[in-house]
């Protein structure tokens, strides 16, 4: 089953690392955005099955992006995964309260990202 995934992250290296890991999902189409605003634009012009976002980004951060995405009726149930350097419990709780479904801290491990994506997409 093809899946469309949006990666919102300001670091091109990180985008590529995450994208490379997720390409192992069958039929995965990866679309990248460098910040929250670019991410929102992509969200408005595409239908995504999963959104992955960083928190600390220029222009618009990941938490603002999540709150805006969750206001959109079409994206109320689309899973959101956060990948961030912020490892504090408060950041995690805040992100989950805003509507994130999974919270992964950096440094990332490709296997962990892939497994979390599989869980969120309901792929066995």
């Amino acid at each position: 089953m093809p899946v469309k995934i949006l990666i919102v992250e300001d670091s091109p290296t990180m985008r590529q690392l995450v994208g490379f890991a997720l390409k192992r999902l069958p039929g995965a189409e990866i679309i990248e955005a460098a910040d929250g605003v670019e991410g929102l634009k992509k969200i408005n012009s595409n239908v995504f099955d999963l959104i992955i976002t960083d928190i600390n980004m220029p222009v618009m951060d990941g938490l603002k992006l999540i709150s805006l995405v969750r206001r959109d009726v079409n994206y109320r149930n689309v899973p959101i995964m956060i990948i961030t350097t912020e490892g504090g419990a408060e950041d995690r709780e805040r992100a989950l309260a805003l509507g994130a479904d999974a919270y992964i801290t950096k440094p990332i491990q490709a296997g962990q990202v892939l497994d979390t994506a599989r869980n969120l997409l309901g792929i066995a």
Binding site: T85, G87, T105
Partner: protein
Amino acid sequence: MTSDRNHNSQDDLGRESPRRPEEILNLMTKSADFIKELMEENERLRYRVVQLQEENQDLATGVAAGQRSEFIKQQIRQLEKEKDRILEEYRKVEEENKTFATRYINIEEENNNLANLYVCSFQLHSTLDFNEVVQIIMEIIINLIGGEDFGIYLFDDKTRKLKATAMEGMPIDNLRPIAMGEGIIGQTMVTGESFFDPVLQQPTRPEGKRSPENPLVCIPLKIKEKVIGVIVLYKLLPQKTQFQNVDYELFTLLAGHAATAIFSAKLYSEAQRKLDTIKGFMGLLTMSE
């Protein structure tokens, strides 16, 4: 009978003798008793025959049952053996399965590490812009190694000292140049050997900032045997609890790729600068003509 009618009888010698009715009656009674006894004996014997037949049948049944039981026991023994063999096979398969699962996990891990390394080297060599290369190195250290405070020192040919080129988590302006052989960083530059503080092996590390001269990790940026600088790591992200084997490998491999990327970018920028100068001269020359 004629003789009875005549009240005559014969004795043991066959002589005719007259019999009295009492004798005859006595004889008849005895005969009747005898017959009765015979009948009773017959009955007893019949009963005994029935008993014996039953016993015989029981014995026959017992023998058959014994044979059957022996057969079943044999079958059970065979099945027990078969079960043991199957269990042994199962145990072996289970063991193989575990070995394969472990190998799968290891291969998966290796695969992920290779993928990470591929992306890192791809990114590092995707540009010849020096600042971009440095930025990529910094991103890799944050995202893959989990560095919080770290930086890059590059060797300055003019001053013969290591100069901080990029720093994350601490102000770069306060960092003084480091002479060859001075402290851990200077020693790494001279020996070309990586330095890993033994504290990295411990599950908990002491909190607080480390001084610039006292890094947790110091990795030489080497092209073959020539050291062009070092990557220094002072602090890991709080969630990065321990430095694992893969981190050592990744860090060392990254340093190799980073070194060539930095070197190429430097050469390219120098060549570009020279080219621009030559172009400027050429421009001046053609203008003067």
